[in-house]
């Protein structure tokens, strides 16, 4: 391979390597470490290599550079990438629902309408949280111009809310749960209240991997689906996952993950993750309105549904966890 590697090859993932999957330490990507962990417990070794990143840009750039053939990604970002000609396909969802908008508990904001004139922090322009605000405002006869939207790295949101530097924050978990757990954040809305079955993150793979490493992709999708169902099977599973993910993958306080996964239990859901056209059409419509997509691509272009023949047929992992360690 004499090609100059200096500016990256065209997403040519090296086939010899273990299948790499990028993720961030957020609850939206929880199925990634869960799948890996259960696999290692059951089979002694994982069949893919989860690569943990610390922020969206690096994650995406590593994907674009061809370092890994698959990654969790913001849904609107994945769609926009396809539109920009990046050979990427959404094959499965990361979760449904799963975020919230928090206000300070002492603030006078009780309804979405009260956000008028307030400062609201979102992670970035391509986050679905931002689109969700578009939707929420539109449904109440308001527009984005009625609020002051700022962008901020999610890790800084708790401090910003605590010090009331902003009036409201919204991002992936666990940052929202943290504010609630610490007693100064109050939920203004959970995503399910505004946008039932909300999707924030999706699993994407490169066209190249779909063509050349189909079996790996299929195994990955199956694994994610199985662990999603496993998570939603019992609350014990969620508590178990909180422990091992917090300890081995996220280096967070397990208490925090337990909180996010249980208060309320449907704050975030990991079932029903097959990509559906109507969901994405709704996202796309909002994305066009929000100016992050043109609308030159469609569901069939950016989603490959062929890896999920029948989502309902997939069974959760038959793994009961390492109970003794919980004592």
């Amino acid at each position: 391979n004499l090609r100059v590697q200096f500016f990256g090859s065209k997403l040519a993932a090296e086939t010899t390597q273990k299948f790499r999957v990028g993720f961030l330490p957020v609850t939206c990507h929880l199925t990634c470490p869960v799948t890996d962990f259960i696999n290692k417990q059951m089979a002694g070794d994982g069949f893919f290599e989860p690569i943990r990143f610390n922020g969206w840009p690096e994650l995406k750039e590593a994907y674009l550079s061809g370092y890994m053939p698959a990654t969790f990604l913001l849904a609107p970002l994945a769609m926009a990438l396809r539109e920009q000609g990046v050979p990427v396909k959404i094959v499965y969802l990361g979760h449904r629902d799963g975020t919230a908008m928090m206000v300070h508990k002492d603030s006078q904001i009780y309804r979405i309408e009260d956000l008028k004139g307030k400062t609201v922090a979102v992670p970035n322009r391509y986050s679905n949280q931002r689109l969700l605000i578009f939707k929420a405002l539109k449904e109440r006869g308001m527009s984005i111009k009625d609020i002051n939207m700022v962008e901020m790295p999610p890790p800084d949101m708790p401090v910003a809310l605590r010090s009331r530097a902003v009036d409201a924050v919204t991002s992936g978990e666990p940052f929202m749960g943290q504010t609630e757990l610490d007693g100064y954040g109050r939920v203004l809305y959970l995503t399910k209240d505004v946008w039932p079955n909300f999707i924030s993150c999706v699993l994407v793979v490169s066209d190249d991997a779909i063509k050349n490493r189909r079996a790996d992709v299929q195994r990955l999708v199956d694994g994610i689906a199985q662990s999603g169902k496993w998570l939603d099977q019992t609350m014990d599973h969620r508590m178990e996952a909180s422990e091992f993910v917090a300890k081995n993958y996220y280096s967070q306080d397990p208490r925090l993950l337990r909180f996010v996964l249980s208060k309320p239990p449907d704050r975030v859901k990991y079932t029903n993750l097959a990509p559906l056209k109507k969901d994405f059409e709704e996202i796309q419509a909002l994305a066009i309105e929000a100016g992050i997509m043109q609308g030159t691509v469609h569901f069939e272009d950016y989603v490959d549904t062929s890896f999920v023949k029948d989502d309902n047929a997939i069974q959760p992992y038959a793994w009961e966890g390492t109970k003794p360690t919980n004592q």
Binding site: F6, L77, V150, S163, I292
Partner: protein, 256 residues
């Protein structure tokens, strides 16, 4: 002579720049990559920013923040550095703290900045200040400590007040070295502008870069932001170097 000088001053760097641009373009083309933008794509990105009226806005916003943060850093760093350089006890007392604080990333300071300054322009200004004040202070301290002994002796001989001593001897004697420190610090101030503009500001060249990195595949805009910062850095450095032409500091420079 002047004709020749002007020629080399303009033509040489332009030649180097042209070569670099060609190399960049060739490298991207040869690699067959479609991720990294080619020079003309970056140019197109800049033009697009101009058309949207964003470029000027972003440049002004970043210049505003850097100017404030950096000016504060100079106003505090130079006197503080001179002071520490001159008074041994002050140096002993505060130098370890300075050496501890200066390698700490502005990113680590972001929570503090938000806590203190909320989501205002003051937060990035604070971060820029923090990153640039230490190089300035360190160079001022070193400059005082390296002053030629004979000037020190002459100065001490005339019974100046402390203020006069600083104003009339220590400052001018150290200025050539301090200007070098200031030039380095100015680069550092811009170096952290991207980190500083992570804080909920919706403008600035740092924001442009963050935003473009967040966007799908807009590396043309990332590079556009880098190019703009580079150009501004070049101009500001030229301006600071004009200081070296003043009679009060010219003594410190060999005749070129």
């Amino acid at each position: 002579m002047t004709g020749k000088l002007a020629w080399t001053k303009i033509a040489l760097p332009l030649g180097v720049a042209a070569l670099l641009l060609l190399a960049w373009d060739a490298a991207v083309r040869v690699s067959g990559s479609d991720i990294f933008p080619r020079p003309h794509e970056v140019l197109r990105g800049i033009i697009q920013l101009i058309e949207q009226g964003l470029l000027l806005k972003y440049v002004v916003a970043s210049l505003f923040r850097v100017t404030w943060g950096f000016t504060l850093a100079v106003l505090i760093g130079v006197p503080f550095g001179l002071f520490l350089g001159w008074y041994g006890w002050a140096f002993q007392a505060f130098n370890p703290m300075i050496q501890m604080l200066r390698p700490i990333s502005p990113i680590a300071w972001i929570p503090v900045a938000i806590l203190w300054f909320k989501v205002t322009d003051k937060a990035p200004i604070f971060l820029i200040f923090l990153a640039s004040v230490f190089p300035i202070a360190v160079s001022a301290i070193a400059a005082v400590q390296n002053m030629q002994p004979v000037y020190l002796r002459a100065a001490r001989n005339f019974g100046l007040t402390q203020l006069q001593l600083f104003r009339r001897v220590i400052l001018p004697a150290t200025l050539p070295q301090i200007i070098t420190g200031i030039r380095i610090a100015l680069g550092v101030a811009w170096l952290v502008v991207v980190a500083a503009e992570m804080i909920a500001v919706n403008s600035g060249l740092g924001y442009l870069i963050i935003d473009a990195r967040n966007a799908g595949k807009r590396y043309d805009l990332v590079v556009a932001g880098m190019v703009m910062i580079g150009l501004i850095g070049l101009v500001l450095d030229l301006l600071v170097r004009q200081l070296e032409k003043f009679d009060e500091v010219r003594w410190g420079y060999a005749n070129r």
